[in-house]
Symmetry: C2
Subunit: 257 residues, 2 copies
């Protein structure tokens, strides 16, 4: 049985068997958690899941199966728990505090049939962040969640374990990265104006940027193409539209990694 079938199981006993399968075929004491950043209405948001039968929220995460790498686990888990696929994931930090995850206490309040052995040991968690263009993805609920929402990083509800810290550290990593790597372009629509791109950087960095310096730096990467069209309809002079040059962008990413 493949763990990806969980979502279709109706029968509780079968669900229990499926969870046991996952337990017996997973590494103990280690998990992955994904911070999925999305951008919309000039705001940066994080994809959060409400734990079924509780008022606690969590990041999409899960265990690593014995026959998959940690990277592969991150992609599988993100797809399985949110429906998101073909998304750029970057490992950013591994969380290893002794008491970071009181799984037993959390599970006691849930109605899911996890075997007690599932939570015998402390767990270290490998954090990944993902970058998505908000309007292009349609997250879906998994069987462990009541709700799924895009939430602003500074307005997060009560979260399990150290997931507040995981979001904060993921945001710090993202901020450190956009200084020299334009991965944020994953968050942009196909064509965009320079002010729109600047607003995205400002939302991530949490501070205003100088317009001229920003434009100069971004253009120096040589990965943007200015189109003939302009964005019309605004009160100001119509700004030019830009788009990525895919080959240059791939080349730039390769040279950075």
């Amino acid at each position: 049985m493949d763990s990806a079938n969980f979502g279709n199981l109706q029968d509780f006993a079968e669900l229990e068997r499926a969870i046991r399968w996952a337990f017996e075929n997973s590494m103990k004491g280690i998990s992955v958690d994904c911070v999925v950043f999305g951008f919309h209405d000039n705001q940066l948001r994080v994809l959060c899941l409400k734990v079924k039968g509780s008022d606690i929220w969590s990041l999409p995460g899960g265990h690593i199966q014995l026959n998959e790498s940690v990277d592969e686990a991150a992609y599988r888990i993100l797809k399985y728990r949110t429906g998101l696929d073909h998304i750029y994931l970057k490992q950013f930090y591994t969380f290893g505090e002794v008491n970071r995850a009181n799984v037993r206490a959390m599970v006691a309040g849930l109605k899911l049939p996890f075997p007690p052995e599932y939570f015998e040991t402390r767990a270290v968690s490998v954090g990944y962040y993902a970058l998505v263009e908000y309007s292009k993805v349609r997250p879906v609920l998994d069987f462990m969640s009541d709700d799924i929402q895009w939430i602003e990083p500074d307005k997060l509800p009560s979260m399990i374990f150290d997931h507040h810290e995981i979001v904060a550290t993921g945001l710090k990593s993202l901020r450190a990265q956009i200084d020299h790597l334009p991965i944020v372009y994953h968050l942009m629509p196909d064509t965009f104006t320079m002010p729109e791109l600047q607003k995205l950087h400002e939302a991530i960095l949490g501070e205003e940027l100088d317009r001229a310096n920003f434009q100069k730096r971004i253009l120096s990467y040589n990965i943007l193409e200015r189109l003939e069209e302009r964005r019309t309809g605004g009160a100001h002079k119509a700004p030019f539209l830009y788009r990525f040059i895919p080959e240059k962008y791939q080349e730039f990413l390769r040279s950075e990694f």
Copy 2:
């Protein structure tokens, strides 16, 4: 019994009990490995241990005890396996390929009394790098090693598991970091000239830098103080000596993390 006593054990049976203690009090399936960079004679080197009774070398690494965080484990293991203490360690990447560590095959060739259960599962390893001023530290052999050496990253001997990759990734992380964070100053003596500092950056980056641009960028951090003394004895005009302003340096590090 504390694992830090291993080095003093003479009796093999006692050693076996000590290893079993460490096994029973450690997380399974996860370890840490440290890439210790040192700088000397304008060369960057990595601290490597020769595995006892073999021709294979390894990075200083080990398991995480149940009552310590992953960070704490990294500091304890580095001290225990190399004698190095009070050193800045930075977590840089977690290595999670399925077949990265064929521990069973490695151990078969060793004369150490590890119990078979020690190597039942695959292990994920959390990588840390450390930065040391070569002439200031005196690494010491641990009980699992025949030799300890500073080796150039591009001249590494045969290494266990994926330790070549761990060094390469650690070096890439260090290079990415010095662009906007002067952690390399951990590698410098108390006073130094601008050309000496530039040589360190060039050794880490593996490329030559423009002298004027380098000096301008480094001074813009406002963490260096120019002394009245100059370095004398060279063929050229005597260059000024510099040193860190400790408070400014700490402040700078805080603002970056």
